[in-house]
Structures are given as C-alpha cells and as structure tokens.
C-alpha cells in the first residue's frame, strides 16, 4: 500500500471511529438491571430540589384547572433554585396559572401575590395562622389565600 493510500485509509478509519457511539453500542450487551448509563445524572431535581416533583404532584391533586398559584421556595432568590422551581412548576402544573412571586432580580412581585388563589410553599415550615392550610406533605404545604 502506498503512503498516500495508507494516510487515506487511516484518515477514513479515524473519522469513522471518532463518529461512532461505542457507549450506545455496548448497552445491549450488558445486563439491564444495573443500567450502564444512569441518566438520572441529567435530571436536575436530585441535585437541586429533592422531593420537589412529589410536592408538585400534591399541589396538582389539590387544585383544579384555572387556579392561580403563587410559588414560594426558600430561599427566595431567583438564581438560587427559584428559577428551577418556577420553570418546573410551570411544567408539572400545566392547566393551572403558576405565578412567580419574585422577578429575575429577586425583587418581590406583590401583584402576583394578590392575584393568587393559592400559595404553594416548598421548604420552610408553615404554621397555622390566619390562613387555611389545604394540604401539607412532601416537604411543603398548599395554602389557600383569603380573598
């Protein structure tokens, strides 16, 4: 084989091998029980807000479509978990009107508080008071705001 032919062959093989997906190729050959790839690493919740999905399931079960729900997630800082919590709540509570209670600069949004039928509180403990606790569980509570 000439030098040029060798270089051509090596270039072709290198290009093909660089583009292949050996990780995916190996998956079917392994036992399915302990899966080769743990995609949970790509799921943010475990790292960001453990248990948050279960909390949102509870909020969904105790509200109905069209309800306006304000979100409280400690700490109330947009860049610290609140952004994730709000976006996630929008997804899990589709049909309800989920409102952020702070803006992207972490400033309060009192208009959204006033418009909310419910407040979904995740994280801080909620004690009884002048408001009604509709549901408590999964690390949070659902409060009905008095009109």
């Amino acid at each position: 084989m000439s030098t040029r032919a060798t270089i051509t062959a090596v270039s072709f093989i290198t290009l093909v091998l660089c583009g292949a997906a050996p990780d995916m190729l190996m998956i079917p050959s392994r036992a399915i029980g302990p899966l080769l790839f743990d995609r949970s690493a790509l799921q943010d919740e475990g790292k960001t807000l453990p248990g948050y999905s279960r909390f949102l399931d509870g909020v969904r079960a105790h509200t109905k479509p069209g309800d306006v729900i304000g979100l409280i997630v400690a700490p109330m800082k947009w860049q610290e978990r609140y952004e994730y919590a709000f976006f996630r709540a929008c997804y899990e509570l589709v049909g309800r009107d989920v409102r952020p209670l702070i803006d992207r600069q972490s400033r309060p949004l009192p208009d959204n508080v006033a418009a909310s039928h419910y407040l979904a509180v995740f994280g801080p403990a909620v004690r009884g008071g002048s408001f009604v606790v509709v549901w408590r569980g999964a690390g949070g509570a659902l409060i009905e705001r008095s009109p």
């Binding site: 270039s11 290198t14 660089c18």
Partner: protein
C-alpha cells in the same frame, strides 16, 4: 409505551406515500427514514391547521389525509427506474446494535432534561391542555423563558403522541428522540449506498451514529440533526447528480428544519450562500417549498408579537463592543467549550487528505457558513457570552457536523477504493437523470 410506538409508526405511515414518490430513486432504507421525517411534517401541519378549531383525533385524521393528498399531488412525477437495492454488511449489524442501545438509553427514565420540561415538553403539555396552540400563554411575559418564538414542530409531534396515548405521559417520550436518530441514520445509509461500496457505505453510517444518538433526550437537537443533515445531503445529491427529486426532498427537509428550531431558519442562509459558492445559484429558486413550509409559523409569530430574545436591546452596540473588546475570550471560549475536539480535528485532517474536495464545495461551504452564523450570534447575544457558549456551542455545532463528515468520508472512501474493481452498489442501476452517469470505467461521475 404501546400508544407512543403506534403514534410513531403512524407518523411513518402518514409520510410513506410522499417518501415513496419523492424517494423512488432511493434505496428502501432511505425511503423508510424519509417516511418518518415527512410524516412528522404532515402531522405538524395538520395540528397547526386545526389548532383554531380545537384538536380532536377525527379532525386530525381528516386534515392529515387532505395534507397528504395535496403533498402527493404536488410530488407525483413520471415513471422512474426501479429503486436500487443495497447489501447489508456486518458493520450494519453494529449500527443496528448501536441504535438499539440508544433506544434503551433514551427511555431508561422519563424525559427529564431541563430544556424538555422548560421548553419543548412544556409547550406540548400546555398546548395539549388547551386543545391547540395557546397564544395567550406564549405571549405572557412570565413564560418568556420558554422561548415562545421557537418553531413548534417538535411540541406538536409530542402532542400527537399524547393524543394517541389519551393524555400526557412523558415516560416514553425519549422514543421520539430515538425515532429521529434512527430515521437520520437510515437516510444516510441509503444515500451512501448510492455512491460507494457496501462496506464503505456501512462504515459511514456507523460513523455518524455518534452524532445522531445525541444524549439530549427530549430536546430538538435530534430532530434538527435529522432534518438539517438530510436536507444538506439531499440538496448535495440534487446538485451533484442533476437529481430534481433529491433537490425537492432537500427543500422540503430544509423547511422542516426551519420548523424545528431557529437554527433551521438560519440554515436557509447557509444553503443559499453555499449554492452560490458551488456555482449553482441559478437553482436556488428550487428551494421555494422550504420557504412555503416555514412561512405559516413565521407569520403567526409576527401576528402574535412573539419576538426572539436574542435581538432585544441594542444589538449593534453589543456587536461592536464584543468585536473590539472581547474577541479573544470568545475565541478561547469556542475552543474551550468544544467537547468533540478529536472528531473535529479528524474531520479537518480528512478534508485536507481527501482529493477532489472541490466536488463537495456545497456541503463544506454550507457547514462553514452555518457555523459562522452561530458564532456571529454569540457576538450580539444579550446574555453573558461565555455562559451562552458554554451551554450551547458544542451542542449546536453538531447540528451540521454530520453532512461534513459524510462528504469527507465519501471522498476518502472512494479515494481508498480507487485501485479496486469494486463498484458503488447502485451505480450500475443509476440513470442519467437522478442517478450518477458512468464513465468508461463504469465509475460514477458527478455533475456540477
């Protein structure tokens, strides 16, 4: 899972008549891939059309039939030669195994990546709940994080799957991502078979599985890689071999790329420039079906006052400031955050080694222009530049890597085989119009 599988197979069936006619010179495996891609487009248009009236399955079925019939009427041509058959090799078995592994990877968990539940899946779920596109939701300032101006082919495809399922369930939505990857690899395998030997064609398809099998499950990367990649390869084929059907395929797929992500819209510019570079500017008008496909969403966005977040504020001021003051950190960021460096290096070396790269002017120009557009975007983005590069550059660069790899690998493959008697398996079955002509040695001769 069963309803979702039925929905995906239905999508293929919906697109099959169009694929059979437009892909009549293609091997069956390419037609199968195109069937899913065209079917996705038909489902998208059908749901977009009936959105003002409310989504129901009977209404959807009726519109799908009408859209499919219109597409067929437009696509019917005269008689064509028999579609070429291809020969499988052991490398194809490795490709199938890779795709099987990818199907498992894509479905081991419910679709849970950030951009799925914050953008693509979120919109799909909102639309499903609303029974159509919810323009007031898209227009709400609270939902600007979901990029309301993004085209909606993928969310509407999710909605089709959810309607078949009787409700929203994201547990198996990863199969949609897998379907696009498989469709793309199928088309690549078929196109490669038309221009080189079975072994090389198999190797090229295998070498593109890494791009097709994106780890970003549920996002629009897989659909865009499929639509953009097959579009460029079809247009390439149309230009090289005077294949009008391939050019039409490419134009339609380009429109569907533009209906998937804004990067697909940018691809129109890249393709236009590349056709000028390839001295095929007189045929740019043949891309008009793609324009027709993207226009409805663009007009609807304009009517609903949905704007792209990248062009907020003073674009010119940011552009000038970054060009004059930040080009070094930006260049550094582009190199630092490019994860598949060895692959890119292998591609550059391959292009350098290959003879006859002038033949692939169109592909290499299109890829270069598209990458330049992406880089230009970083110069005027309103967000932190290095953050934007870190979170997007490697992902979007892969959108157009596949066609470049295909072209380079094909040049090398045929260069390697030059001394052999082996013929591209379908060359002898090709005809002048739509297939390669043969020189005195029976080798494929391109037209440009």
């Amino acid at each position: 899972m069963t309803p979702l599988v039925v929905a995906l197979l239905s999508t293929m069936v919906i697109g099959l008549p169009t694929a059979l006619i437009l892909g009549r010179r293609m091997p069956a495996i390419a037609v199968a891939g195109m069937a899913f891609l065209f079917g996705s487009g038909i489902v998208y248009f059908a749901l977009l059309t009936i959105s003002p009236f409310g989504w129901t399955l009977p209404r959807l079925a009726m519109v799908v039939l009408i859209v499919a019939a219109v597409t067929l009427t437009f696509a019917i041509r005269g008689p064509a030669p028999a579609a070429p058959r291809i020969r499988a090799t052991i490398i194809d078995f490795a490709t199938v195994l890779t795709l099987a592994g990818y199907a498992l990877f894509a479905t081991v968990h419910r679709a849970g990546e950030w951009d799925f539940w914050a953008i693509w899946g979120l919109k799909a779920r909102v639309f499903l709940e609303h029974g159509g596109i919810d323009w007031s939701w898209l227009g709400s300032v609270d939902h600007s994080f979901a990029h309301p101006d993004y085209p909606t082919l993928l969310p509407l495809l999710y909605d089709f799957a959810a309607m078949a399922n009787g409700g929203w369930d994201d547990r198996w939505m990863g199969l949609v991502t897998f379907a696009f990857a498989a469709a793309f690899v199928a088309v690549v395998r078929g196109l490669a078979a038309l221009e080189t030997t079975p072994w090389f064609a198999s190797a090229i398809a295998f070498g593109l599985t890494g791009i097709a099998c994106t780890p970003r499950i549920g996002l629009a990367e897989a659909p865009l890689i499929a639509f953009a990649g097959t579009s460029l390869l079809m247009i390439r084929r149309g230009l090289l071999f005077d294949d009008d059907d391939a050019l039409l395929n490419g134009a339609i797929l380009l429109g569907l790329a533009g209906s998937t992500k804004n990067e697909g819209l940018a691809l129109f510019v890249a393709v236009g420039v590349a056709m000028v570079v390839a001295r095929a500017w007189r045929r740019i008008w043949r891309l008009w079906p793609g324009i027709v496909i993207v226009m409805p969403w663009l007009l609807l966005c304009r009517a609903a006052h949905l704007h792209n977040d990248l062009v907020t504020g003073s674009v010119i001021a940011r552009l000038v400031a970054r060009l004059t003051g930040m080009y070094r950190p930006i260049l550094g960021g582009l190199l630092l955050y490019l994860q598949h460096r060895w692959f890119w290096l292998a591609l550059v070396v391959a292009i350098f080694v290959a003879r006859g790269r002038d033949r692939e002017r169109f592909i290499f120009s299109a890829v270069a222009v598209q990458l330049a557009i992406y880089i230009a975007t970083y110069l005027y983005t309103p967000y932190d530049v290095l953050w934007q590069i870190d979170t997007s550059w490697d992902r979007i660069a892969l959108h157009v890597l596949a066609p470049a790899v295909f072209a380079a690998a094909l040049l090398l493959a045929n260069q390697w085989a030059e001394g052999d008697d082996a013929q591209p398996e379908s060359v002898v079955a090709g005809t002048r119009n739509g297939g390669p002509s043969l020189d005195e040695h029976g080798e494929a001769r391109p037209h440009l």
